[in-house]
Symmetry: C2
Subunit: 304 residues, 2 copies
């Protein structure tokens, strides 16, 4: 617990020391993964795409019938500001990753079915953003397919729940294989997403250079960075495309990259032991990463 | 929280008041559903099939690479005894449901991948066993198919993780449909299990009366009660059978029932609005329930 000393966490309306006890063991978040979450980035105290993240948080909670009060957005906006200030991550050079977790709250009775109304538990945490691990940007990420498959018909597919054991398992699987992350495939063999990022391919076609990503029916979470990239692509002279992609498309691509709110855009150069394109990070990936970082810094706040 | 007043919970080696705070918000059980659990029943202070439940707990934890110390079984045996005594559920008439929850513990860093070794969080809770809701035994349970489908190839299928959002969702879905529970089907359309119980069918064949249940490759959790029933069936003159079952088999059965450690054996009389058999609880279901309750009471401890 040493790393938590001196730090803070925001819970149900107030700042508390990060060390210590905050939650009941009867919280359904702990018992049943009965909760939802968001992660986002804040540069210089400005949370990036906060409205989009809060909208998705509300959609995820709604999908599980977790009731959220009307002041949630206002409360969380204030909570994030208080936490960033307490963590001294709100200065001009501040670069924070923020996690918002909302569980259904404490249940006094046992069982899967919430017996009655509960007060949701609302937690905000913040960490300084770490640069990508040494060499990641230069050599690119190596991915392997997870043995966990995704069902595009799942009614929970687009909900960002805290029931994340599948994703933890996939990351452990990737580590055992010596890879940096795992890529989920759907039960019908299409590319879905990485454990906490959407995936994009760059490929040359007769109509120009295409920036392709799995469509929303590919058991993906509709990432806020994914949406941003689709908008940026057109402005940058790439032809954005959402559709069905299979592992062979990855092998045949010129470039591939992952995108997520906190890590931004990271090159992918290997899948299941096969190099992608030249096997080295490509120029479009670098351009996309630069554009996204500029957007997050606010030097190009209105792009694309 | 009123219902928790005066009660206790056992956490990491000691009894604590059930009201109040027990856990860090940084616990991966809360953050990621990164944990495993067991529920079991204790009559007169004797936990039923404790060894089997602890073995499955260890297998589930192993599947997620959650390290458990060698004294876990001894610690939990003692913890359960202490908790049952504190809750006054260990008397001759004591009838308790017990839940053991083990999470990977507190993570100081963010992300899906555990950055380093953690101390698992170990929680034991106990509740008095409630009789089945009024009329359930007389009219039988009504089930509906969940829109969540199960993948028989999932590497997590046999792990009882705390990532239970799919199951909570299915129970909410059943409640909205006016049903008592949901039945999961596999992605290839076979019967899997209910949200917290295995399912059995009784059907007449040329070779006598068959007691059929989905095989282990049906995306089921291998229930301890399921195993007990398969043993009991032979002794009772039924032909036990594990295989692939589809919804049409349920509609065509003479009887159907669910089984789980805490609720025991409960009749099922309706699936997706269609009556099963006569639409009333059947005699084999009643016989199985009686035999199981006798086993749990210890009057027939060595059965089958």
């Amino acid at each position: 617990m040493r790393e938590l000393a001196g730090r803070h966490v925001w819970i149900d309306g107030s700042l508390e020391p990060a060390e210590g006890r905050h939650l009941s063991a009867f919280d359904r978040g702990f018992q049943l993964g009965d909760g939802v979450f968001e992660t986002l980035r804040a540069r210089a105290g400005h949370p990036t795409e906060l409205a989009e993240h809060l909208a998705r948080l509300r959609r995820s909670a709604g999908g599980l019938d977790i009731p959220l009060g009307p002041s949630l957005e206002e409360d969380l906006t204030l909570g994030i500001a208080q936490l960033l200030a307490a963590e001294r991550l709100d200065g001009p050079d501040g670069d924070a990753s923020i996690r918002i977790t909302v569980s259904r709250g404490v249940a006094t009775s046992r069982g899967l079915l919430p017996a009655g109304p509960t007060d949701p538990t609302i937690v905000v945490q913040a960490w300084p953003v770490q640069p990508p691990p040494a060499g990641h940007l230069e050599r690119g990420l190596h991915l392997v397919a997870s043995s966990v498959r995704r069902d595009p018909a799942s009614p929970l597919g687009a909900l960002k729940t805290t029931s994340r054991a599948d994703y933890v398992f996939a990351r452990l699987e990737a580590r055992r294989a010596g890879a940096d992350d795992a890529l989920f495939l759907t039960i019908d063999g299409r590319i879905s997403e990485a454990t906490s990022a959407n995936v994009f391919l760059v490929r040359s076609t007769a109509d120009g250079t295409e920036l392709a990503t799995p469509a929303l029916d590919s058991a993906i979470l509709p990432g806020t960075t994914r949406t941003w990239i689709l908008g940026w692509a057109g402005a940058a002279g790439l032809r954005p495309s959402e559709g069905s992609l299979v592992p062979a498309d990855l092998a045949a691509a010129d470039e591939a990259f992952l995108c997520s709110s906190v890590a931004g855009i990271l090159p992918v150069t290997m899948f299941n032991g096969t190099p992608i394109g030249s096997g080295r990070p490509g120029p479009w990936t670098a351009r996309a990463r630069e554009a996204r970082e500029a957007f997050i810094r606010g030097t190009d706040r209105h792009a694309p």
